[in-house]
């Protein structure tokens, strides 16, 4: 009896973990694009993928704490959409790097997305705090 209850709790934990991971995934799908645009929008020089990953690592916690490999396809797709531009810089000492910078449409998108994010965050906060 005790044994089966312990097992049930364990199964519940796994389930909860899975739900959380799924939620993380869904949450990150939009925010990662916004964050990447913002990082490149604030940076004076073009940045390469590894550099961006390390900068986000400093922010820590939350959605961005996921695996860094998730950043690269998003960068590439933002480029395809014309919001970022990139060029490869071969170097003698280090490996070749692809430098990204934000484009004019990218800045416009960043402004609009920031607005949408702020509005969403405010209303989500209100709901969570029970001000409805």
């Amino acid at each position: 009896m005790i044994y089966s209850m312990a097992r049930a709790r364990q199964a519940g934990d796994v389930d909860e973990d899975l739900q959380l991971r799924k939620f993380h995934k869904e949450l990150s799908s939009g925010t990662v694009s916004l964050v990447l645009l913002a990082v490149l929008g604030q940076s004076r020089q073009p940045m390469y993928g590894y550099q961006i990953a390390k900068r986000l690592e400093q922010v820590g916690e939350g959605v961005l704490a996921g695996k860094q490999s998730a950043l690269y396809p998003v960068l590439r797709n933002l480029e395809v959409a014309g919001l970022l531009a990139s060029e490869v810089e071969p170097s003698v000492s280090g490996p070749p790097r692809r430098y990204y910078r934000i484009t004019r449409p990218g800045r416009e998108a960043l402004r609009a997305w920031t607005h949408a994010w702020n509005a969403t965050r405010d209303s989500v906060d209100k709901v969570l705090q029970g001000e409805l």
């Binding site: 799908s29 993928g49 590894y50 695996k67 490999s69 690269y72 396809p73 959409a81 070749p96």
Partner: protein, 310 residues
């Protein structure tokens, strides 16, 4: 699958984990991973590859986690960025005329127009490059020339891939194969020759000349016939004096093989309808050519996911 000890091992595991995925996606994923791993190794000198990789599996993700992320991203972002597909049409008539609302039809049409020009350029470059490489190989400048030539072929392969993806809607790589490092120059040059993709790309470039011309001629002739049939009522409508060059002896003559005669309005309207049907049939053909060519380009320009890179 154990923890990878070298970057190449990591990439091999990633390739294995992505088995069965779109080859273009595999090439992109491998490029990204290699760029990140090399950067990590470079930023922290004095650490050996194995312990660096141990940490990277935590931050960047283990090969199978990375593979899962890429598969996921691909589905989600493709959906977000691509134009929405045209609404599916049930009826036969709707499907026949619906071809005009499919963006890929117009992309393919543009690709065919462009293809006759790029076909000539690719063919010239490939044949000229091969001939010059063979001729110069007895001289000292032969080797650098060959390397330059093969390099430009690879660059063009990526460019053609971008054109094919933009116009034909076939997923193609967005990154070139990662340049090899830490390998002596001669071995790197040797790898260019043993890479089957170099040869299939050259084959593609040579093939583009006859194909580009054939696509262009077939499309141009069919479109010209369809458009002239569509214009027939206009020619009838306007007086015989206005468009003098169109008429034989100031009248329109039709010939069905039983001698020329002056057509009546009913006949002209029938021709108009025939022209409309022909126009849409041509658009179907154009879209079909686009699909076929896209599949062929992918086959010849992108290295298969199952083959090893070494």
């Amino acid at each position: 699958m154990g923890t990878p000890r070298t970057i190449n091992e990591y990439l091999d595991q990633l390739r294995a984990a992505l088995r069965g995925a779109d080859p273009a996606l595999v090439q992109d994923a491998l490029y990204d991973a290699e760029e990140h791993l090399r950067a990590e190794l470079y930023e922290r000198p004095g650490r050996d590859e194995a312990s660096m990789l141990e940490q990277v599996v935590e931050s960047y993700g283990a090969p199978d986690e990375v593979a899962e992320i890429y598969r996921d991203q691909e589905i989600r972002i493709q959906r977000a960025i691509r134009p929405p597909p045209p609404p599916p049409r049930r009826s036969l008539v709707g499907r026949f005329f619906g071809v005009a609302t499919d963006l890929h039809t117009w992309g393919a049409l543009f690709y065919i127009l462009l293809g006759s020009a790029t076909g000539i350029a690719y063919f010239t470059l490939a044949v000229g490059g091969i001939a010059l490489s063979a001729g110069l190989s007895v001289l000292i400048i032969g080797l650098p020339f060959i390397v330059l030539f093969i390099g430009s072929v690879r660059g063009l392969s990526l460019l053609e891939g971008r054109i094919v993806e933009a116009l034909l809607g076939v997923r193609m790589p967005r990154r070139p194969p990662y340049p090899q490092r830490g390998v002596p120059l001669l071995a790197r040059i040797g790898a260019m020759f043993t890479d089957p993709r170099t040869w299939t790309t050259l084959f593609y470039m040579v093939l583009m000349l006859p194909l580009g011309i054939a696509y262009f001629i077939v499309t141009a002739v069919l479109l010209a016939v369809a458009l002239s049939l569509l214009g027939l009522p206009v020619a009838m409508l306007f007086g015989h004096d206005w468009l003098q060059g169109l008429y034989v002896d100031r009248t329109i003559l039709l010939d069905w093989g039983s001698g020329p005669h002056v057509p009546g309005w009913g006949e002209v309207l029938a021709m108009f309808l025939l022209g409309a049907v022909l126009l849409f049939a041509t658009l179907h053909l154009v879209r079909g050519i686009g699909r076929l060519h896209g599949a062929m380009a992918k086959h010849l320009l992108v290295r298969g996911a199952t083959r090893s890179a070494s």
